[in-house]
Amino acid sequence: MSLIDTIPEELGVANSWTETGGVLWLTPGPLSVRDLAKTMNMVQARFITITAVELPGEEGFRLEYHWDLDGTLLGFPFTIALGQPIDSIYDLCEAVDWIEREIHEGYAIDFAGRVYDPLLLREGQKLGVNLRKEAE
């Protein structure tokens, strides 16, 4: 059994990996992103990025968290409702700092439990202008 195969059990997730579009996806269900980050730290996976996707209508957003484990790209999708925050993992994973800040500025999504310095925006500029569709 490879290290990747042990991850669903480690996370306590009943789902199994599915490979699509060059990514090994695991739907984490009710698992929190912080528990996921702790497990990724434990298996020494390398954090790569978070891709935020705005869902149609009032469905909110999908945040796809990516880690690399021995050359395999892992993906974990989390859906959040409009106006709802998601926990920050910055205190668990230093590499996430800039991408959390970029998504916060681009989509006005709040990562709970952290403070932000401006990244691409300047102090006081409006959040969500760069990427969020409703801001058009």
């Binding site: 699509t20 790569i48 790209l73 760069n130």
Partner: protein, 360 residues
């Protein structure tokens, strides 16, 4: 008493605009704060307004140095959504273009590093060498910067005379071995400016998730060409140079050795270039609904593209780009801590930053 010295956003020590606020005590930098966003062009948003042909031209303009890598990564992601596979010759041409771009990028960086060391002669030597690489790229594509080589399912242009290119690679490699590498590795000017300067420890490199030569110069031996091969890299024999020291010298050595490995890859790809078609030859391209992701080892490290498409749509629903400098730049803060103020332009340059990539 501490005081803050701003470097940038427009400063002779920076090739592009960004800002580094350095908190100093005397001539020693205690901490630093980075500010980016001065090159923001809204490219990810613009991508959602372009069709599958236009989006390639748009993403080629994310970066002025590794433009080919951006279209390669984007096309690889879109190929997963269209089911198109590039033919073997196209995969080899993609490797050749990617390695020429790496040479161009590394030699350009070496020139800029030499200038920041106060070594102007070396700067001129590197830029003369870079011209030779640019000539090669122009001979293949007709362009010096945006080569327009990649398309979904293959490449747009052939390499008609591999033997002529091989002779140019030989000449370039000879000159690298004769001048650039010995001078950078033995000159007291280079060593005194770089050794022990701007250290990024192995632990910090892992924690920050840095990529490319910055990671490899801190003892993190990751390279997607080996770990997750794409195009025709699986068929190439080469080494991944790794240095443990984490200082500017280590970053210089890694890139110098990578230049030699790129020449090795180019020689193999040009010699073994298989016959056949340049692309999958599809006149009508249709996308399936879903998200596809592709990763490529750019000159500065891992680039990742995530592309979402809805079947029947002319335009992507989302194109997300994570460039290598986006993850390498936060490391500058730790590299400049306890450094001499005068070393900071060279330290920030040692990650080979690309601010237009970072801001998009």
């Amino acid at each position: 008493m501490s005081y803050t010295i701003p470097m940038g956003p427009y400063h002779p020590g920076l090739e592009e605009p960004y800002k580094l606020d350095m908190i100093c005590e005397g001539e020693t930098v205690r901490d630093a704060k980075l500010h980016i966003g001065f090159n923001f062009r809204g490219i990810e948003h613009l991508a959602e307004t372009r069709n599958h042909v236009q989006v390639i031209a748009l993403m080629e303009r994310v970066c002025g140095i590794c433009s080919n890598i951006h279209t390669l990564t984007l096309c690889q992601a879109m190929e997963k959504l269209t089911g198109l596979t590039p033919p073997p010759r196209a995969k080899y041409i993609r490797v050749i273009m990617a390695e020429l771009e790496r040479l161009h990028s590394h030699v350009l960086w070496a020139g800029i590093a030499a200038k920041l060391m106060g070594f102007k002669t070396m700067f001129m030597t590197c830029f003369a060498l870079r011209e030779q690489v640019m000539d090669l790229l122009q001979a293949i594509s007709g362009n010096r910067v945006n080569y327009s080589m990649n398309r979904i399912g293959g490449v747009n242009r052939d390499i008609e005379d591999p033997q002529a290119l091989l002779r140019m690679v030989d000449a370039l490699e000879k000159e690298m071995l004769r001048t650039v590498i010995p001078i950078f590795t033995t000159s007291t000017t280079a060593i005194s400016r770089c050794a022990g300067v701007g250290v990024l420890t192995h632990e910090k490199a892992l924690s920050l998730g840095v990529v490319g030569p910055v990671a490899r110069a801190s003892g993190v031996g990751q390279d997607l060409r080996k770990a997750a091969p794409y195009a025709a890299y699986e068929e190439m024999e080469f080494e991944v140079p790794v240095q443990p020291a984490g200082d500017v010298t280590a970053r210089l050595l890694v890139r110098a050795l990578e230049i030699m490995e790129s020449c090795k890859i180019l020689r193999q790809a040009l010699t073994k270039l298989p016959p056949g078609e340049l692309n999958a030859g599809e006149s009508k391209i249709s996308f399936t609904t879903g998200t596809a992701t592709a990763r490529v080892e750019a000159p500065r490290g891992e680039v990742i593209y995530s592309v979402s498409w809805k079947e029947g749509s002319q335009k992507p629903a989302r194109v997300h780009v994570r460039t290598p400098t986006f993850v390498n730049m936060p490391a500058i803060r730790f590299m400049v801590q306890e450094a001499r103020l005068a070393d900071t332009p060279l330290i920030q340059a040692s990650i080979d930053p690309c601010y237009s990539c970072t801001d998009r």
